[in-house]
């Protein structure tokens, strides 16, 4: 065990110093009746070389990476510049704890302060926290926050909000006397404004919608926010594809009171769903209701600028059951990756990445739409994902495409039973024109 650093001699001398005869004696306070009298049944210890072979062999059982994939739906494959991996894997970032001692944690604290600033700039809001777990739980936290602010007990969830996010919101609120009501979408794939108007009332705490939504369609953020505000409810905009904010107007400038969601797109690998990067920004009047850690600027005794964790009287370690959230550990290293990613791409690079996503998705939508047996399902404007309706059942089409080395999209019927034979196709900047053409060609063959 190369990680355990005591020699037999150390052990013996330290046991003597402690005043016990054996390591067993160190556990004398554990009742004998419950102590484990056998060795754990685990595989034998492996050397580094054996471990590498074992894990690589398990990895090879993932056939996924041998396909060209057009999957999105809340997890997006984007280019990650080498500096992101290189800098974020420095031991000084990987191996410290939460920066409770600011004098020896200024690196992490300043990086998080920059992350908070970047999130504010992206979302168009006043303040942002240091991160939350991931998009779905961040959405649930936003719902609880809206309830605290408005003291109202109903939330409206757009059906175009990621189905898993809606499920998680329901899991979170189930025991708290809150009610969640789904709001349907119209033929453009956007929230149905009339239905929203009917569902809104004086018990509504928030209208929660995603833009671009789960179908890739960009919602009318201003109209949804206006509708919410008309009933003194909050407008909560969820962003699952954060790269879109390089191009789309900031939701905070279109009336959203809270913008929350998933920052995985910003330099975090898809990695089978985690760890990801929940984020949250809001107007400054809601500061005291914000969940999670916050980094603030201050000065030291000599008047030099420095950064600290602040406003922790909102948090569980001070306020216990009256805290704004039970969250403690967040996603520090993922937030660092996102900060390095955004700062590397910068003002022009992030916009260009977003522009290319939009362009390539538009090209793909045109190419696929021209295939006989493929129909665009929704008429609303899209960012980097769109829904196609196929002349054949999706499982058969999916299997046919896979035979050609392609994963063409995500079948929507399980989550949206009304969307029979429909699939969600995602095209990021990583897809080349050739790959898009290949998908169109393959679809034509599979559908003919």
């Amino acid at each position: 065990m190369s990680y355990l650093s005591l020699s037999d001699k150390d052990k013996k001398e330290m046991l003597a110093a402690v005043g016990v005869g054996s390591t067993d004696d160190l556990f004398c306070c554990i009742p004998d009746a419950v102590r484990l009298k056998r060795e754990l049944s685990l595989p034998a210890a492996q050397s580094e070389l054996e471990l590498v072979r074992t894990i690589e062999a398990i990895g090879r059982k993932n056939a996924y990476s041998r396909y060209v994939s057009f999957l999105g739906g809340g997890a997006y494959e984007h280019f990650i510049p080498t500096v992101v991996d290189y800098l974020s894997s420095r031991g000084e970032f990987v191996s410290p704890y939460t920066p409770y001692q600011p004098e020896v944690s200024q690196g992490t604290l300043q990086a998080v302060f920059e992350f908070q600033t970047l999130v504010c700039q992206l979302t168009g809001l006043d303040i942002a926290n240091a991160s939350l777990y991931e998009g779905a739980t961040a959405t649930a936290e936003a719902v609880l926050m809206a309830q605290r602010i408005t003291t109202r007990n109903k939330v409206l969830l757009a059906r175009t909000l990621h189905p898993q996010y809606r499920e998680v919101v329901r899991t979170y609120i189930k025991n708290l006397g809150l009610e969640a009501v789904d709001v349907p979408y119209g033929p453009d794939g956007r929230v149905d404004n009339d239905a929203l108007g009917r569902a809104l009332d004086e018990s509504t705490a928030a209208v929660v919608f995603q833009s671009p939504n789960f179908f890739g369609v960009v919602e009318d953020v201003q109209a949804l926010s206006d509708a919410a505000h008309g009933r003194k409810a909050l407008s909560v905009a969820v962003v699952a594809e954060a790269v879109s904010l390089g191009l789309l107007e900031a939701p905070g400038r279109l009336g959203a009171d809270i913008v929350t969601g998933e920052g995985q797109s910003l330099g975090v690998p898809v990695s089978f769903g985690g760890p990801y990067l929940g984020f949250m920004a809001c107007k400054k009047e809601f500061l005291r209701q914000m969940p999670g850690r916050l980094v603030g600027q201050t000065v030291d005794k000599e008047g030099r600028r420095g950064f600290v964790l602040t406003l922790s009287t909102r948090e569980q370690h001070i306020r216990r059951e009256r805290a704004t959230s039970n969250i403690c550990t967040n996603q520090g290293l993922c937030a660092l990756r996102a900060a390095i990613f955004m700062e590397s791409l910068g003002k022009q690079g992030l916009r260009e990445m977003a522009w290319q996503n939009g362009q390539k998705a538009a090209y793909a939508a045109d190419r696929l739409g021209a295939v006989s047996g493929v129909k665009r399902k929704f008429s609303g404007p899209v960012f980097n994902e769109f829904v196609v309706e196929l002349a054949k059942p999706w499982p058969a089409v999916d299997a046919g495409l896979r035979g050609k080395g392609l994963i063409g999209g995500y079948g929507l019927e399980p989550a949206y039973p009304e969307l029979k034979n429909c699939a969600l196709v995602c095209v990021t900047e990583l897809k080349t024109k050739d790959q898009i053409d290949r998908l169109a060609q393959a679809l034509q063959e599979v559908l003919s």
Binding site: F27, Y100, P102, S271, D300, R304, R322, Q331
Partner: protein, 485 residues
């Protein structure tokens, strides 16, 4: 550390026109009217513009302002800062894992599902539980998930009940998690040994109490010796026992929570199984349960069918989803690697070495620092500043002075039942040399407290910043950079 390095905020060194990353030219015909009618932003106002050299130097300089485990002992009690094996970092990022998409069909991600299933199986053996879910993203998320499971099980028995009992020494996340699960919290006082007062528990345990949340070893680093009796009392009144397994690293291979009456527990992979803390996450807080609670586990559950791993959504009694997808996967890979590297003997040595190291520190510092509870220590020991207070020195002064000696301070002012607490946890990976260096520093500081307390009040002296004004930070919050008008 070089005191003089002042690193500006990236926004302050930004200059128009620079960038660190170029993308290939667009290879599809460009539509000028893309997203016509949708409000687009003119520019990303305030976003920085810097070269790759500048980004690299910026973050390298920032990194040098951090203390970290790779540098030395990080004795934060309750946080369990142990060495993070480097091979685990590499393996968790293998392209086959890093690229696998969570919405891919099961047959394309058999390897990822095998990782999840294997870790679940090993955790069941280590904790003595019947099933594990790896969904929770961190310990507090595990607590919330666990309390939801308890609530669901009690509802199925006939009623969710109203209260949750929590000892006064507990982590703040415990009452907060119980609250979000819709329960009211009742505090149980600790006895003079620092453990649960069994009589007080008996009095508090009624048929309105859903559960007891117990940390074992507790936050004093003391094993709850009466745990079996405690579990009996709770079970006799129809309640369930939740264990906060944050301190599981003191027990691995020695005793299993499932064998001492625990119904539900969470484990922190970033504590017991060496996954890095990353400056505040990502963590991972798997939850283990006894058979009765299996039907309520969050979906999807990893199943096996005909030799293949499958995602089981057909769980009518489930509490639902607690997050998107399947958990903090790459953290889970790292924990699996740790267990495979250590094997059964090594997993036991996690506890043996952690407890030996903690007791060695305790013995070496006893007398120099006050020990409120003299009950035997497990993996951590909690001193206080009571002796040093006589010279006007507080735990804060001691903590900050440790920085001058090149160490990260211990956890301060927690648990709440020890006034002026200094909670020290060395973990199993420290060498005797590093322990001795730390002990020598603590002894030197105890001496300074008597002879030259002023040097402690003004510490740290050799950090990038001196003590920071936290009061002003909270009173007049500046939470982001803004362009000067």
């Amino acid at each position: 550390m070089i005191k003089e390095i002042r690193e500006p905020l990236i926004f302050e060194i930004s200059e128009a026109g620079k960038r660190a990353v170029e993308l290939p030219a667009l290879d599809v015909p460009e539509k000028k009217d893309l997203l016509a009618g949708v409000p687009l932003r003119r520019e990303l106002e305030g976003f920085p513009e810097v070269s790759e050299t500048e980004v690299t130097r910026h973050f390298t300089r920032l990194s040098q302002k951090n203390y970290c485990v790779d540098l030395g002992i990080y004795p934060l009690g309750s946080c369990t800062m142990k060495y993070n094996p480097k091979v685990n970092e590499r393996l968790s990022g293998l392209p086959d894992f890093a690229a696998s998409h969570p919405l891919a069909s099961e047959d394309l991600v058999q390897g990822s599902l095998e990782v999840l299933k294997r870790l679940e199986t090993y955790l069941c053996e280590i904790a003595g539980m019947d099933a594990f879910t790896l969904h929770p993203a961190a310990g507090a998320h595990g607590e919330l998930t666990g309390m939801m499971l308890i609530r669901a099980a009690l509802e199925a028995r006939g009623g969710a009940r109203k209260y949750v009992l929590i000892p006064d020494s507990a982590h703040g996340t415990n009452p907060s998690s119980a609250h979000i699960c819709g329960y009211s919290v009742k505090e149980v006082k600790s006895n003079e040994k620092g453990t649960i007062d069994v009589e007080a528990l008996e009095a508090a345990m009624t048929d309105e109490v859903a559960a007891l949340m117990v940390t074992n070893p507790n936050t004093l680093g003391v094993f709850e010796s009466d745990i079996c009796r405690v579990a009996e009392i709770v079970h006799a009144k129809g309640g369930l026992v939740y264990m906060d397994g944050a301190n599981m690293n003191a027990l691995t291979g020695i005793v299993r929570p499932g064998d001492m009456g625990i119904d539900v527990l969470h484990i922190n992979l970033h504590k017991t199984f060496s996954t890095p803390h990353g400056g505040g996450g990502p963590g991972s807080g798997p939850v283990g349960v006894r058979k009765e609670l299996v039907p309520y586990l969050p979906i999807p559950v990893i199943g096996e069918k005909g030799g293949r791993f499958v995602l089981d959504f057909d769980r009518p009694a489930t509490i639902g989803r607690v997050r998107s997808y399947f958990g903090n996967f790459s953290v889970i890979v790292r924990a699996l690697c740790y267990i495979l590297t250590l094997g059964p003997k090594g997993v036991r040595e996690i506890a043996e070495f952690a407890v030996l190291n903690a007791n060695y520190i305790r013995k070496s510092l006893e007398g120099e620092y006050h020990l409120k509870y003299t009950t035997p220590s497990m993996h951590e020991c909690v001193f206080s500043d009571k002796i040093q207070k006589e010279f006007g020195v507080t735990n804060l002064d001691i903590a900050k002075r440790l920085i001058d000696y090149g160490f990260h301070p211990p956890t301060m002012s927690f648990p709440l039942i020890v006034h002026g607490a200094l909670m020290i946890e060395p973990t199993e990976t420290e060498s005797r040399r590093d322990l001795d260096l730390f002990i020598d520093a603590m002894k030197a500081i105890a001496r300074e407290a008597r002879e030259n307390p002023e040097i402690l009040h003004s510490a740290p002296h050799v950090a990038y910043v001196s003590r920071l004004d936290e009061v002003t930070a909270a009173k007049f919050p500046v939470l982001r950079w803004e362009k000067k008008p």
